[in-house]
């Protein structure tokens, strides 16, 4: 499913040559967008949840699906965060080396997190480790978390905002298998994670699997995998086949919404991969809960922007 541009905003144009106002403009947009994604789900997640609800036949599961739909309506109408756990804020940035505010982005996104915390409002979710104090601002050491990919020659920036809630972060796991365990071992690992801690992580889940060379490369790819839209496929035929097999197999288990049994378990399984050392298979699982709050926005060099993940957004 290719992503389409749904909204083309014509924002306040920053003054010519004024770097200050460009920074303020981008900070303002990112503040509003960060607060926005806590209240309304992206298009792909909404349509997959509607599809799963439609095909559900278990009575208790239908009660839960009805509550989920009522909740999203109420959140939209009352303009409130749909889940109280608005997560640790993470930004996944794909920026052109020639994007004019490349050097300012880190400060802009930190300010956007501070602003969104008041605007949302977002729950205070940054606890400074070892001091064990909640900072009360959703910022702290290396938080918001930034992940960078730099594209040579390009002058745009695409930013994925993700609210990493506690419940769906808890199942996260990574390990390194021996080649003798093969892709069969990868399947075992995924099933073990989902049938143990995944059950409590607000299913139906979007399951991200990283297949790579070491623990941390697989972990990063597994998170990137849940940023990919639901129902998109890995470009390698074997990997795409494995996505389908895992999705069908997990759904056959019938974990159901909230783990209370039903016709489905997952919204999908997305695999991301890299080449690996011949002696190792790094594998990791990240999960997104049904309230998978992420949003993708692309800035052009002149700071006009397009929101790629949601429809009809007015910031």
């Amino acid at each position: 499913m290719p992503e389409q541009t749904s909204v083309k905003d014509s924002p306040k144009v920053p003054e010519e040559g004024s770097e200050q106002s460009s920074v303020e403009h981008m900070t303002d947009v990112m503040t509003k967008f960060t607060a926005y994604i806590g209240k309304r789900l992206p298009r792909d997640v909404k349509s997959k949840l509607a599809e799963l609800r439609e095909s559900e036949t278990n009575e208790m599961a239908n009660v839960v699906f009805d509550s989920m739909a009522d909740n999203q309506d109420a959140a939209d109408k009352l303009d409130r965060p749909s889940c109280q756990d608005t997560g640790v804020i993470q930004y996944f940035i794909t920026a052109g080396a020639k994007f004019p505010l490349l050097g300012e982005l880190e400060d802009i996104l930190r300010e956007a997190t501070l602003g969104a915390t008041k605007l949302g409002p977002l729950r205070h979710n940054a606890v400074e480790t070892f001091d064990e104090k909640n900072t009360g601002t959703n910022t702290g050491s290396k938080i918001p978390w930034l992940d960078w990919e730099i594209v040579p020659g390009d002058d745009t920036a695409t930013i994925e905002v993700y609210m990493a809630g506690g419940g769906c972060t808890l199942p996260g796991a990574s390990t390194v298998l021996m080649p003798g365990q093969g892709y069969e071992g990868v399947a075992d690992f995924v099933f073990d994670v989902i049938t143990s801690r995944g059950v409590n992580a607000c299913p139906p889940l979007l399951v991200g699997v990283g297949v790579s060379t070491s623990a941390e490369t697989a972990a990063r790819l597994s998170k990137k995998a849940i940023l990919r839209p639901v129902d998109t496929k890995h470009e390698n035929a074997n990997a795409a086949k494995m996505e389908d097999l895992l999705e069908e197999g997990l759904n056959e288990l019938g974990i159901g919404p909230q783990g209370l049994n039903g016709n489905s378990s997952v919204m999908g399984v997305n695999i991301e991969s890299s080449a690996r050392h011949p002696s190792t298979i790094g594998v990791a699982v990240s999960t997104g809960c049904w309230a998978h709050r992420r949003g993708r926005i692309r800035f052009n060099a002149d700071l006009t922007y397009e929101i790629l993940s949601h429809e009809g957004v007015e910031l």
Binding site: M60, V63, V64, S67, M68, D70, N71, A74, A75, L78, R80, P81, S82, C83, Q84, D85, T86, G120, P121, L122, R123, H124, N134, G136, G166, G167, L170, P179, G182, Y183, E184, V186, A187, D188, F191, T195, V199, N200, A201, C202, N238, K241, M242, L245, L246, G249, E252, L253, G254, I255, P257, Q258, G259, L260, N261, C289, W290, A291
Partner: protein, 202 residues
């Protein structure tokens, strides 16, 4: 028929409930999670609220202070109940709480505590935090506010709060434990079938 529990809850109100039944709550519902459990059970501090016949909610809400004083409930969904498993059996015995609401299942200790003291655990659908907030008529008070917004004991007046799906009843039944056993049995044949198609290393 829809069953509504009203606080204070009596033993006989819970006797006929079975796992999988759906109920609603009217009355007083107090948020109580990790640190409040730890303070009562490990540090032997007295809870600043009376929970005899009461209901607690494993939840850390978003609350807004109103301009003229008092609080507004913005968003209040359940948090993972399993984190409280370590304390809940003792907590139920010491407080006389009758209804424990949260997300996901709890383990054998809580199941034993519910059977010994005639209490139940129920699931409110996770992520449905605005739906839950609309069932809160008023925040009557806040205790242990030194713990910060998520961990404060928020005292809520609720009406028809639910749906609440009974996951542990008073007879020793545990819905999530039953499901876990089912999943462990179901996954082996599925994996055996899938793995036949995954021998990419030849």
């Amino acid at each position: 028929m829809t069953k509504v529990l009203t606080t204070p809850i009596k033993d006989e109100d819970l006797e006929d409930l079975k796992v999988g039944d759906i109920v609603f709550l009217t009355g007083r519902l107090i948020t109580c999670r990790d640190v409040a459990h730890r303070r009562l059970i490990e540090q032997k501090r007295k809870l600043p609220v009376d929970l005899e016949g009461g209901a607690i909610f494993h939840a850390g809400p978003i609350v807004r202070e109103k301009d003229g004083g008092g609080y507004e409930m913005v968003s209040i969904g359940p948090t993972t109940s399993m984190r409280m498993e370590k304390f809940e059996r003792d907590f139920i015995r010491e407080t006389g709480v009758k209804l424990v609401i949260g997300k996901g299942g709890m383990g054998p200790e809580t199941t034993a505590g519910c059977a010994e003291n005639k209490a139940v655990h129920a699931v409110f659908p996770g992520g449905c935090a605005v739906l839950a907030a609309t069932k809160v008529e008023e925040i009557e008070g806040a205790e242990w506010t030194d713990l910060g917004m998520p961990e404060t004991l928020w005292i809520n007046k609720v009406r028809d709060f639910g749906p609440l799906i009974i996951s542990i009843d008073t007879k020793g039944n545990n819905l999530f434990q039953q499901n876990k056993e089912r999943l462990n049995e179901a996954k082996k044949p599925i994996l055996d079938r899938i793995k036949k198609e995954l021998s990419f290393i030849r």
